[in-house]
Symmetry: none
Amino acid sequence: MTRPKAYILLIGNELVRGSVADVNGSLAARELERIGFKVVGFEIVGDDDQAIERVLRASGEKAEVVIVGGGLGPTDDDMTRGAAARFFGRELVFNPEAWENIEAWFRNLKRKTAPDDRRQAEFPAGAEVIPNRHGTAPGFFYRQSQTRYYFLQGVPREFSAVLEEEILPRLRKEFSLPPPQTFRTLKVFGISEARVGAIIFGLARSFPQVTVGTRFYFPEIWIDLESEDGKALEAVVSRARSEFSSHLFGENEERLESIVGKLLTEKGWKLALAESCTGGLVAHRITEVPGSSNYFERGVVTYSNPSKVELLGVSPDLLKKFGAVSAEVAGAMAEGVKKNSGVEIGLSTTGIAGPTGGSPEKPVGLERIKIFASAVALDWLRRYLMGEKEGHGS
Amino acid sequence: MTRPKAYILLIGNELVRGSVADVNGSLAARELERIGFKVVGFEIVGDDDQAIERVLRASGEKAEVVIVGGGLGPTDDDMTRGAAARFFGRELVFNPEAWENIEAWFRNLKRKTAPDDRRQAEFPAGAEVIPNRHGTAPGFFYRQSQTRYYFLQGVPREFSAVLEEEILPRLRKEFSLPPPQTFRTLKVFGISEARVGAIIFGLARSFPQVTVGTRFYFPEIWIDLESEDGKALEAVVSRARSEFSSHLFGENEERLESIVGKLLTEKGWKLALAESCTGGLVAHRITEVPGSSNYFERGVVTYSNPSKVELLGVSPDLLKKFGAVSAEVAGAMAEGVKKNSGVEIGLSTTGIAGPTGGSPEKPVGLERIKIFASAVALDWLRRYLMGEKEGHGS
């Protein structure tokens, strides 16, 4: 069974100039491939009437489905609606019902609409409006000869939500799609990408029907597996689990912090944090997980020595003898926050995070060290909760 | 003076399937714009002979310079060389000098070449080889009628190095380029995108030589200005500053947290934080700024009521009377952390951040509320430090 072809168009001056790297295209490609389409290409053009018309025409010759992201906002540089109307040979028509929804969105936020907001309720005559429950600008659908065009807002959060809620369900209904590819992402921490690659490409050699790729998602390595043959995929996953053992911490959407949350919930334990070099990032990651208030009791970010003494009971002598960045002080911090809060687990971080380079506004080195240290801390906690002896939790 | 046009082609199955998001395209666009080209578009296609030929042809009609990334490796799915040779109507010819360099690269790494590696030394007859000092596959240059094609390896590290070392110097020599564009990004918080757009596009109407764009960088609005005419650009910036007044908080790489850091440093004040709904995110943002240990004394993340009482001295009666999510408790939290730490400024956040939707692994709503609340807190702090009366700092 041949897969129907899809093409992705992304519109925005900021994209074509390289001020921003596109994220919508790869998301849409992944999702379309997942449900059985073959994505044959992307094209990115600026906010330019003629360029938009040209790519709408060209993509219609290449694919049965064209996803268009961007240029639906309320400002003068949002040109997609107008260019689409010209390409389809239709007038732009104001849609009162869509406008009511936009007004309701603003009322909800207790904000007023501006006159330019009305543009977001104009669509080429004959287009079907696609609701957007995540922002102001609705999308729209238009069919021109053999090609279905779907237009979405370019704000990544809105693009991804409308794609998921509106576009994919329509496509599943309108096309008879081949069995979907099965995808699996395995997440590994604590081994180099080259070693991960050597192991996984080695394993996969016996399963030519499984496509393998690796990605460095700092500081984790992600392994992407893809196949139409679910059994072969499972075989690779199971061998990878045994090869990577506890370095493999999760799959697909799982994160270190969500795994830690599950383990804490299973044990019925509560956690308290004492952070120094990670500056609140561990607490931020822990509290990104819904329900974390059930197991996260408190955190302290003790940047100064007095705060370590006052909030955690670290002894001034210990600080003097070993310095703030020492295993001894880290241990005392974790013990202090555990004791003060009465929880089962205290976790601490300490170290020097920066500044190590970049400009004051772009502290790349600093950010990377914080991210790395937070991953190490969460991974230690995960291993400790799984009963490994080398856990550094207190 | 008109800018010569450039087009960017990116080739790879992993890109077109969305397994990996492209990074070469936006880098090349930024660099080409910086030296005076106008990038008119990107196209991404898979490792497919016919698709590559098609995009080589189509891009030649749109631009004088085409940068092609990817598909130059040694494996069966590297098809760019062959497709280019067919499109140019030339044979693929083995280049002994290029092969010597490839062999030297392998010798250097104490590795052996494989038979397939020889493919990397084949180029369309008449092409000029472009050295790659960062990997095995050299690039090449070919001129077809009015269009110059530059082919580069797709590995991002090699692509960026060869672009910088080989391609940009050639382009500067071969083209007479206009003075570079000046770019400026203004950052606004607290007004809707439509209102920002109406104001800035209104202002810019008197300055047709300045190109304007707006972006929603949640929850901030970013205004991109671009012009060859530095004076006109400055005029727009200065009018925007007066129109947006204190809603305009920064420019270019500045962030709310770096502005707050500057203001605290100027005043010689120290900051302490008491976070509830933001769960450590404000501390994380503050400590992203190098040098923040000079003004950030401590933070506490008080998720539980006991932690608010014990760490901040919030009275249990106040918690009972008004609830944890109240202006009264927020005030007591900020006062408590200020008093305990002896700093000049205490800042607190409280509210209900979630869970409000998404899956346990993808808590979209929660994340947004935390980001929004952290921006509001940092913006209040900024306004308070600038001497505005409505600051909610304590």
